[in-house]
Amino acid sequence: MIAVSLTYLILIGGAYLACARADRGKTLQSLKIAGGSLVKLVPLLVAIFALIGLFQVFVPAPLIERQLGAASGWAALLTGGLLGAVAIGPPLAAFPLAGSLLDSGAWPPAVAAFIVSWVSVGVVTLPFEAEVFGARYALTRNAVSFLAALLIGLLVGMLS
């Protein structure tokens, strides 16, 4: 992650240098816009990451496992999708959790819905999404993605 981030940063730094040689004024304007939007959105990002930490500590993996393991059929599919929507964290954390769910006999479509919803629907990041894109878009996108996650879950579960 660090290597990739540094590569991005260096590429964009290079682009700024190249632009500065072409037109100083426009490049300064770019910097001002970049700094302005950074300052505006950083408090939100800080809040989101603080929430991610809280969530990971206070809603531990065993709790999710218990909830999803207890449900069956359509209820399991819905539970998987909802848990995935509320859960937040890197997919790196979702895979082992889903793996242990499959091993302990959870219904595959529900596990698939959980994973897809985990990476594409974000209840915790919803306020940030609404701030950037507007509430209507954030709600519409997450609702449609949630339905898609259930559908993909069903199909994956039936195929595999």
Binding site: M1, V4, S5, L6, Y8, L9, L11, I12, A15, Y16, C19, T27, S30, I33, A34, G35, S37, L38, L41, P43, L45, V46, A47, I48, A50, L51, I52, G53, L54, Q56, V57, F58, P90, P91, L92, F95, A98, G99, L102, P108, A112, I115, V116, V119, S120, G122, T125, F128, E129, V132, F133, R136, Y137, T140, V144, S145, A148, L151, L159, S160
Partner: protein
């Protein structure tokens, strides 16, 4: 006539709450967490801090890119490449971009919005975000935990669904946008 000081203070407080409500709510939750269990609250703070530190460089790079795009790339170009006139090709480009990008999706929200303001259609923005769920670079890891059938099936279906989801969200956005548009 200037307002009395208490009213001004109340107004300033309201503005603060409206603009930073999420930060305030999070601080409140942490207050509760510290009251309930100080060591777990500290642990949560540590996890959040480390997660934030790991994306700091990318966040700076993304905002740098936002600044460059807004000043140097013309609206006409964005509209031609990623707007309605670009047709289906723009959606394919969006799906491909979403598939190969890395990091959490919310990092590129500001970038996508700046492209949107310059004329990209909603379907393009949404398709990028939907395809983002594929996580190409993590497939080997996913296979390790969930097996080939599950991982490939999930990734292929996610890519296949990205464009339909994008078009559906765009349709919903434009339908709801048309109704109240009685402005001249």
């Amino acid at each position: 006539m200037t307002k009395p000081a208490p009213a001004r203070a109340a107004g300033a407080f309201r503005t603060l709450v409206r603009s930073q409500w999420l930060l305030l709510a999070t601080a409140g939750l942490y207050g509760w967490a510290f009251a309930v269990s100080p060591e777990r609250a500290l642990q949560a703070l540590g996890i959040g801090g480390r997660a934030f530190a790991s994306v700091t460089l990318i966040v700076i790079a993304v905002f740098g890119l936002v600044g460059l795009l807004q000043v140097w790339i013309s609206r006409e170009l964005v509209a031609r490449l990623l707007g309605r006139e670009a047709g289906f090709k723009a959606l394919l480009v969006a799906a491909a971009c979403g598939t190969i990008l890395i990091g959490p999706a919310y990092i590129i929200f500001p970038l996508l919005m700046s492209i949107r303001r310059q004329g990209a259609r909603w379907a393009v923005i949404t398709t990028v975000l939907s395809a983002y769920a594929v996580k190409l670079q993590m497939i080997p890891l996913e296979v390790q935990f969930l097996g080939w059938g599950f991982s490939l099936g999930r990734s292929l279906l996610t890519v296949a669904a990205a464009i339909p989801v994008g078009l559906a969200v765009e349709w919903l956005m434009e339908r709801s946008a048309r109704r109240p548009s009685r402005r001249p």
